[in-house]
Structure formats: structure tokens, C-alpha cells
């Protein structure tokens, strides 16, 4: 059963140059990725590791120095693919002099939607992102979280098949980020593809099917979240609260099977562990990078 690739990136390198064409930063180095239809894909990495750069390259906002990008079967520079794409930028760069309704109406027009459609859709989205009370206020008066919300609404205006979210939960209150995660899951259930990057590992762990970890523009880790977090030579048991005697009993049982109780307590946020470990490893051994296993290769 071959699932369709929505995004294919091959040997993507991006070098930022200054006005005179001199090289400034190598933001991405020979990155190869595939995102399959219907999955939620997470891009992780420390600040400045090239996540936003990757997204902009996918959208054709930046031009690759080397390598190939195919999005929805089209080259990244092809504008017509945008018909099915939604993009939430890292910071919501919207038109500050418009209010929420006007903003959504404007973006709706860019998709040649009819006035009726635009009205329905923007009402629906304003409801979805919870801005009913601020719909008539100009965006320059919005708080950061409110701006994120309207940014999300504009990304969904065209009911896109592929949604690129650059740090979707940044600036949102806990309730808001809960809603955001629910929304991402809902989108996934509708069969849409979501690519997101975030620093909030808990969020990523909750919603992503697969993740890639970037470090200094290089791919360091790629795979299913479950697989990556599964330590092959450890087993984790989760039980209801145990009394000290019960723990001692369990230890005895384990000893019988030649195993040791390494640690007990509440399960940790283990993606964080993975992330820190990967970053640490990258710092120690800069040359090493993720090489796709045979199964990953198309």
C-alpha cells in the first residue's frame, strides 16, 4: 500500500546571500524529506536550525540554492499549487488596518470565492478561532494571541489540503493551544496533510505522526514519533498508584525474569529527552546526520 507523497524534498540546500551575492548563512544543507498524504508532520530543531526556511522554500517564497522541491506534484515556484495550500507564517504578518472580517474577506477574494461563500466561510472561521467579539476591530489593536488566531483563520480560508503551520501554538494561551491541537487532529481526520514546526515538544508529541529534527540546517532525526521514542531495550509499564510493598513485589517478579527496575515514577515527557539528546549529540559530533533507512527511501 503506497501512500502518496504530498511534499518531496531532495538534497535541498539554501544559502542566504547578501545584497552583493556574498554567502552569509548556510541555512539548509542537503535536506531530503517526504511528507505523505494525510499525516501530521513535525519539524523540530533549535532556534535558527532552518525550520522556517524550509517552509518558505516549500511555498516558493525563497528560491533553493540547490535541490528539488515538489509540493502537491508541482514545483514550489508554481503559484497554482497555492489553491490547495494554507500557510500560517511564523509571526502573523497581516494587514493591520483591516478588521477580522475584512481580512478574511480579502483573502477569500484571492481565491476567487463568491461574496456568499466568503461571508459564510469567514463567519465559520471567526467562530472556529474564537474571535466573535473582536470581528470588527482592526488588527493593529489585537493582542499577540488574537493575531495568531486570525492568522490561522486566513490559512484555512480556502479549506486547504495541505496546511503549513509555523509555530502554531506560539503566543496562544493554554486553552488556545489545546484548541489548536484539537484542530490539527480534526484536520488530520478530514484527510488533510499538516506540516508544523514548534518548540513545544509536548504539542508535537501529542499531534504529530512523524517528525524530523533539524540542527544547523541538517536533518538529524526522522521517523514516526512512536518509533523514535520507543527505546528498544527498555519497557515502560504504567500502572495505577502502587504502594511501596507492591513496588517491592514487582521488583521481585522482575528479578525472577532477569530484569531490573530502573526507575519508577511518573512517565516523563520523553520527546524532550529525545530532542535534547539529539541536539547534544549534534553538538558533540557535528558531521553526523540522519541517513534514511532503506524503507524510508522511495
Amino acid at each position: 500500500m503506497e501512500t502518496q507523497s504530498v511534499i518531496q524534498i531532495k538534497n535541498l540546500t539554501k544559502i542566504y546571500r547578501d545584497f552583493w551575492g556574498r554567502k552569509k548563512v548556510r541555512a539548509l544543507n542537503s535536506l531530503s524529506l517526504d511528507v505523505k498524504k494525510g499525516e501530521v508532520f513535525g519539524l523540530l530543531g533549535p532556534n535558527g536550525s532552518g525550520k522556517t526556511t524550509t517552509m518558505k522554500l516549500l511555498l516558493g517564497l525563497l528560491f533553493p540554492t540547490e535541490g528539488e522541491i515538489t509540493v502537491l506534484g508541482k514545483p514550489a515556484s508554481d503559484v497554482s499549487k497555492n489553491e490547495w495550500i494554507g500557510y500560517l507564517p511564523e509571526e502573523s504578518y497581516l494587514y493591520r488596518f483591516l478588521n477580522a472580517e475584512e481580512t478574511l474577506d480579502f483573502y477569500g477574494r484571492l481565491f476567487d470565492m463568491s461574496p456568499q461563500q466568503r461571508k459564510e466561510r469567514s463567519n465559520q472561521l471567526i467562530e472556529l478561532v474564537g474571535l466573535q467579539n473582536a470581528r470588527k476591530r482592526q488588527l493593529k489593536e489585537y493582542s499577540k494571541g488574537m493575531t495568531r488566531r486570525i492568522g490561522l483563520a486566513q490559512a484555512l480560508i480556502n479549506n486547504p489540503d495541505l496546511i503549513l503551520l509555523d509555530e502554531p501554538t506560539s503566543g496562544l494561551d493554554p486553552l488556545g493551544s489545546r484548541d489548536m491541537k484539537d484542530l490539527i487532529v480534526k484536520l488530520k481526520n478530514e484527510g488533510k496533510t499538516v506540516v508544523m514546526c514548534s518548540h513545544l515538544l509536548a504539542d508535537v508529541q501529542d499531534v504529530c505522526d512523524r517528525i524530523a529534527i533539524l540542527y544547523a540546517g541538517e536533518l538529524k532525526e526522522l521517523g514516526r514519533v512512536d518509533d523514535l521514542l520507543k527505546e528498544q531495550h527498555e519497557t515502560e509499564l504504567l500502572t495505577s498508584k502502587l504502594s511501596p510493598e507492591a513496588v517491592a513485589d514487582v521488583e521481585a517478579v522482575l528479578a525472577k525474569h532477569n530484569a531490573k527496575l530502573l526507575r519508577h515514577g511518573h512517565p516523563t515527557n520523553s520527546l524532550e529527552d529525545l530532542f535534547l539528546k539529539t541536539v547534544q549529540k549534534s553538538q558533540e559530533r557535528p558531521g553526523q546526520r540522519f541517513v534514511p533507512a532503506a524503507s524510508e527511501k522511495s
Binding site: D18, L61, F111
Partner: protein, 531 residues
Amino acid sequence: MNFDAKPFLLFSNIENGLMHWLLVFGSFIGVIFAATVLIALGIYGVSGPVAVMGRVRQGLHDFVNLSPKRIWAISWLTIIEAVRRKALLVFVVFAFLMMFAGWFLDSDLRADLQVKNAVSFALTTVSWLTIPVLLLLSCWGIPEDIRVRSIHTVVTKPVRRNEIVMGRILGFATIAAGIVAMMGIVGYVWILRQVPNNASLICRVPVYGTLQFLDREGNVSEKGINTGDIWEFRSYIEGGSKASGAYKFSVDAPVDRIKLESRFEAFRTHKGRMGQSLLVRYVLVNPTKDLRVPLDSFEIKEFNLNEQYLERKLSFYDEARMEKRTVDLFDDVVDQNSLTIEVQCLDVGQYLGMARPDFFIRLPDRPFAVGYFKAVFGIWLLTVFIVSIGVTSSTFVKGPVATLLTFSLLIIGQGFREFMIKLITGVQKGGGPIESWYRLVTHMNDTLELPDNIGIKIMQGIDNVMLAGLWLMQHLIPDLTSFVMSPYVANGFDVPWNVAIFRSLAITIGYLVPCLLVGYYSLTLRELEAK
């Protein structure tokens, strides 16, 4: 301040204009295309030109598949932005100026000069307020959009980059239309209130003829006499001789009477008859029928207009036949739709100066509003031109640079054009630039033949390319003088369609098309990141 209507400024022939435009536009595009292909070939080898061709194909595709809805969406955004950024406050400035301007306009002047001042003031104020506002708006719009990256949310929608350029231009043009129309109406009402009781607002419709001079022996000559006036606009004929200026007008359908209007200039070599002005006579001529109909002589009013009427039936004394005759203006005098009138000066030793626009047939006047609002339209056309250039330049440079660029073009186009062209073409003396340099170095006079060898051939070849480049450059500089239509209105004339309106419209469109192309490619080929 003097005004002379420019009745014959170029563009009498639309086909010539179009061909000329195609030539300039074609060479412009050709040069850019060839340079791009060569550079691409140099950097990327064969795949370079292939990629360039891909871009061209993509460009064609994008221009064919424009979406008016999306363009209008961008225009709407542009308009809302201008309104919310309070660009329309310029109205307040305008209203303020208009409220107090009356105090400063001289009310001791002759009535018709007062009218002229009021009209000039109103139209000048409209353009001087509108143009800077639109210049700044159009030059800063896209760079600001890129700087705050709001453009990222637009270009990640199915918007073509040419739609952004077009939408912006359309939006600014709409704003300009609003501002200019409002100010135009306010200015009109203001002018009506400024007109003194003993003056009126007029809108004359002149039909100009061609002018040919006959010298004192009665032979055709290119020009009349130059009286040493610093201003060579007028040529002079000698009084009391056979010298005359022959105006040839084309007339169509017969009418009952024709009104003639003239403003000749007297040049006196002696005081002449005391208290009297120069005596002038019109002679209607039909060369085919050998008919000469002298009209009654009249004294010219200097610095003012002479008005005469030609009736349908003309009675005169025929000197050749020695009898009194009556002829029909259209049946006998008009020869194949053309009416020839010779102007003679009857004072011996005095000179009469005339130029083509000094004498014309005056058709029935139009309402003043017609001429006035044509001039207002002209102001709008100029802002559209500026906006096109401004938006286009702002796609590849930042706001301040774009403003400077557009402003310079505006200044050059208003009057320094001739000077610039001289500057550019000045290099041409003694062959092309390289040849003249060669001659300079070898101390060679520029009339000597150059040796015939391969080096010289190459040199001249390069020179020809450079001269072609200069030719192209000089034709890329716009001539914006036709956009300024207020002198017509201020001097009581209608604004001519051909000379002013159509010409300005053609220039605007002529620049708009390449602007769209340049804007499209510069937005497509650059990363929209603030640098």
C-alpha cells in the same frame, strides 16, 4: 508668463506613434532578453537559456490568465490602506488653501487676467497636492508590504505577481481619480465664485491652419524676417510690401459665417502714425480660380485679440477686373476644402510678427466646464503615469529610492527632456563615442577619412551598438509636457483632444505596458524578504 497653444505637436498620426512605440518597446524588451539569455548561458551553460525560456512561457501564461477579481482585491486593499492611513487628509490641505487663496490673488488686475490667475491657481493646486501624495503612496506601498512581510500571506495564495502590480496601480489610480475629481469639483465652484462681474469664463475651440511666408517680392519662403527678437517663435513680415503670411485652414461643411481670431505682434522701426496701431489686411485667396478677395483693413490690438467675421456672401472691389463683385465664401473662395488667408501689413517700414497659433478660425465656444474638466482629467492621467512608474520601481528598490527615481523621471519629463537628449546624443560628434575618442587621441580632425582596416571596422561596429543604445535611452525618457493642460484652460481655450488628451493617454498606456512586464518579472525573480 506667455502662452502659445501648441496645435501641431506630433502625434497627428496614430499609426506612426504606434510603430515608433513598437520599435522602442521591442528594442527595450529585445535588449533585456538578449542580455538575460547571454548571462544565463555564461553562468549555467545550456540549462540557463532553457530556464529563461521557461520563465518567458510562465510569464505569458500568467498574463493570459489574469483574474480581474484578484486584481480588484489587491486594488481594494490598496484603497483601504490609503484611506485608513489618512492619505485623504490632503483634502483638508486643499480646502484650506482654497479658502484663503482668494485673499492673495490680485484683484486689481484686468478682469480677464484675474480669471486666468484663478484658473491656473486652482488647477495647479490640484496637481501639486495630488502628485506628491500619490508619488509617495505608490513608491512605498510594495516595499512596506515586503518589509513587514504581509506580502507573504498574499503571494502564498493563488495570486500571480503581475496581479499584485496591476492591482496596486489600479488601486492608486482609483484613489487618484477620487482625489482629483473631488478637488476638481471644489476648484470649479471656487473659480465660478472668483470670476469678477465684468469677466466671463470662456472655452474657445480654435481650428488652426498651416502657415507659409511670402517675401517682399511675393515669393514663397520658409520663414519671415527675424527682427532680432530673442524669441524666435514669431516670424515677421515687412509692411507695405508684397510680403505676407499665408494661413491655410481646412474647412468642411459650409456655414453662414466664420469667426476669425488673431493676435499678431507689431515690431516698429519708427513711431508711425501717432496714436494708432498697425494696419493689417486679410486677403482671401483661391489660387485655382485666381481669385483674390481683399477684406477691409483694420488696426490690430496689441496684446489683445482681433476678431473678424467672414460672411457667406462677400462683396469686394476686384482690382483685376476693375469691378465690384460678390462671391460666395464656400462656392468661390474655398478651394478643395481649404481656405487660404494672406495676412498683410499696410504700414510701410513696420513689421508684423506672426506664428502658426496666432491666427485661427474660432468655432462656437464650448461650456467652460468642458475644457476645465479635460484639464482635470489630464492631471489624473499624469498621476496614473507617476503611479505606474512608482509601483514598478518599488518592485525592485526600496521606498526612498523608488521615490527619487520616479520624481527624477517626472522632472526630466516636464522640461529637461530636451536637455537630457542633448546630453545623451552630444557624444555623437565625430562618429560614435569610441571613434571620437580615437580621433581625439590621434589628433585627427573629424572631417578626415579613417583608415580602412579591421580595427576601425570593429571600432565602428561597437560604436553603432552604443549609438543604438543611446537612441533607446533617449526614447525611454518620457515627454510629459502634453499632460499639463491648465494653460489652455487658463487662456480661455478648450483642451484639444489630439494634442493633449489622446497624446497623454497614449503616453500613459505606452509606459504602463512595459511597467507591468518589468514589475511582474522583478517581483517574480526576487525573494520577497526584507534585505
